[in-house]
């Protein structure tokens, strides 16, 4: 379990697919999350879906030679997100301001989630979840930003609700082909 929550550690190959019912539950959770984010219901998202001990990480992706020991990213170096609950809540507070100009007029969002794989872990009620996403943001007349990527989530059930405890986000871009990231992934 501690290993699973280590933000610097990849899932590797998981081979304990959950039963269909759990898979449906987790899938529904992911779809609900995407819908909240589409609607910019960030406060509700952090209050109801995010665990207080969340680790939320999205490193920048370097272009490196295959034999480079550092690899494409490294925890502890620069990142777009490397958040605990405190950092996420600061970001949400900004969205709540009417003068958050990058979102006023409103941005039109679509968070598409696919390639979902749900695996059991050594702990009951803790799931390791792979997914892929397409994030589309469009604003004003024709300003459009598209980000594709993959996620490695750990969801934990407490008091009957699933919450996100860990999320690793890997986008496919090297240079971010956008001026900002006014959303969550």
């Amino acid at each position: 379990m501690p290993d699973l929550l280590n933000i610097a550690r990849p899932f590797g190959d998981l081979d304990r697919p959950v039963d269909v019912e759990t898979e449906r539950e987790v899938t529904r959770w992911l779809h609900l999350e995407a819908r909240l984010l589409d609607a910019e219901r960030y406060q509700e998202w952090i209050d109801t879906m995010i665990a207080p001990d969340i680790r939320y990480w999205m490193p920048d992706m370097d272009t490196r030679r295959r034999d480079d020991p550092r690899g494409t990213f490294r925890h502890g170096e620069s990142a777009y997100f490397d958040d605990s609950w405190h950092e996420l809540s600061v970001r949400v507070r900004r969205y709540n301001e009417p003068s958050a100009w990058a979102d006023n007029p409103a941005t039109r969002h679509a968070h598409l989630i696919s390639n979902i794989e749900v695996h059991a872990t050594d702990d009951d009620g803790v799931y390791a979840v792979f997914s892929a996403f397409t994030n589309v943001r469009n604003r004003n007349e024709a300003d459009q930003d598209i980000v594709h990527g993959r996620r490695e989530d750990v969801l934990r059930r407490s008091d009957g609700r699933l919450k996100l405890v860990r999320r690793r986000i890997f986008i496919v871009q090297n240079i971010l082909l956008s001026k900002n990231l006014n959303t969550f992934f």
Binding site: M58, P59, D60, D62, T63, R64, R65, D68, P69, R70, F73, R74, G76, E77, S78, A79, Y80, F81, D82, E87, V90, R91, R93, R94, E97, P98, S99, A100, W101, A102, D143, N174, I175, L176, L177, S178, K179, N180, L181, N182
Partner: protein, 452 residues
């Protein structure tokens, strides 16, 4: 095959687009393609441009790829510990020889096209073997990657120029180094960059972010109200002694504005431990830097080194606005820390710049769209014939100041931006460094000497 360093020309018509008397700038400088090409020739092929921090490439063979203007450049540490920089382009068919952002202990660079191989010194070491070697007319020794004309470093920051005639890096800065030392020399042991870099694309002209950092604290109160509210729970406070202490200063178009409030910028990173660290640092740095500069280490302030290298004291984001056409930039941003800072302080700076001045940061978030539309609206033919207003603080020159350069009272001021565009006009107008180093933007003392 000798390196070809393009010669400068003179574009007096473009220089006139900056009107010093009316304090106006013609908007065509932000969208016109011919003006942009002239910028690549007059500014980016001549000025000293930021390449890297020494700490990014500590060992022989360590390298990174960056840009000088739109030119792709490799920066690599040599076996004798010096640093060289070359155009990232094979002299055979022009392909890039280095495809990656960075790496360590490189032996050299081999072109993927025909296997031409270059040492870390840029010299051609060989080809794909057995073909050129049998061609008796082939002279390997004459071929290599095109080196920059000059390379030098200042307190950890490596710069280069494509102009063999350019003055030394020290002369290019002039007395502006007095201000650079606020960040680069406030603690023994020097500075380093945190690992990695954040790169992003903004569809704006490169001069908008450069002028923003050279002296536009004004925008912070409106643009960044939401970010300040999120982190501070209220507006940025300029402090009680603003009238007495805040200033703008400019030398050769490089500019800094500061409020001397000690920790205003650092406070916006949102971590009280960093504020404590900077308070202590500021006290300690008094002997090293004197009172004024010690107060500036974490103060509400911003800085641009002409043309396109900017940083924020106190928030420690360092960045280059690489031009990618008149309406597009690639922004590369790093975090600078003192080498001797405790590890947890370095870690908080890494997080602090991420939370504020990175694409998902609560301040940078709201900058991009302003610069994009300030650029894009000028596609309108009539619109771009309306000049822009740069006349805040016309009567604020502080000629009695003992600080170097052109000093103006009050950081809420367009003074540095006027001098930034005046420097831009000097680069457009002059084809030689004698004129470039003795024009209106030269430090006042030097101008007085030149007039005699």
């Amino acid at each position: 095959m000798r390196p070809v360093y393009p010669r400068a020309s003179s574009y007096p018509d473009f220089a006139r687009l900056v009107d010093r008397d009316k304090a106006q700038v013609d908007r065509r400088v932000f969208v016109d393609k011919a003006i942009y090409q002239a910028e690549l020739q007059q500014i980016f092929a001549r000025a000293w441009l930021f390449l890297a921090h020494e700490s990014q490439i500590p060992n022989p063979g360590d390298f990174l790829r960056t840009s000088m203007g739109e030119d792709d450049v490799i920066v690599v540490r040599q076996r004798d510990k010096t640093v060289k920089a070359f155009l990232n382009s094979c002299p055979h068919r022009g392909n890039r020889v280095c495809m990656v952002d960075a790496g360590t202990r490189a032996r050299g660079f081999i072109c993927n096209y025909h296997g031409w191989s270059f040492g870390i010194d840029g010299a051609l070491r060989g080809t794909d073997g057995k073909v050129y070697e049998t061609d008796e007319t082939f002279e390997k020794a004459q071929i290599g990657l095109t080196p920059v004309a000059q390379i030098d470093s200042y307190k950890g920051l490596i710069f280069a120029t494509f102009d063999p005639q350019a003055p030394s890096l020290e002369d290019f800065f002039g007395p502006f180094t007095w201000y650079l030392d606020i960040m680069l020399d406030n603690d023994e042991g020097g500075t380093e960059f945190v690992g990695g870099a954040i790169r992003s694309i903004i569809d704006c002209n490169w001069k908008f972010p450069a002028e923003n950092f050279v002296g536009d604290i004004l925008h912070a109160f409106w643009t960044h109200q939401s970010g300040a509210q999120a982190i501070l729970g209220g507006a940025v406070d300029l402090g009680k002694r603003y009238d007495e202490l805040a200033f703008q200063a400019s030398v050769y178009g490089h500019g800094i504005e500061s409020n001397l409030d000690k920790v205003g910028n650092t406070r916006t990173l949102g971590y009280p431990e960093l504020v404590d660290y900077v308070f202590d640092l500021s006290e300690k740095a008094r002997d090293r830097l004197g009172d004024i500069r010690a107060r500036a280490i974490g103060a509400i302030s911003s800085c641009t080194v002409f043309p396109n290298f900017s940083f924020l004291p106190g928030q420690n984001t360092f960045r280059v606005w690489h031009p990618r056409g008149p309406g597009k930039i690639e922004l590369v941003a790093w975090t600078l820390v003192n080498k001797n800072a405790p590890e947890h302080i370095k870690e908080l700076y890494r997080k602090g710049t991420m939370m504020t001045f990175s694409p998902g940061g609560v301040f940078e978030m709201d900058d991009g769209e302003n610069w994009e539309y300030a650029t894009r609206v000028n596609e309108g033919f009539v619109t771009r014939h309306q000049p822009l207003h740069y006349a805040l603080g016309l009567g604020t020159e502080d000629a009695a100041s003992e600080m170097p350069g052109h000093v103006h009272r009050g950081s809420l001021n367009d003074a540095n931006q006027r001098l930034f565009y005046t420097r831009w006009a000097e680069f457009m107008k002059y084809d030689n460094w004698t004129d470039l180093q003795n024009g209106e933007t030269a430090p006042p003392v030097r101008r007085a000497q030149a007039a005699e």
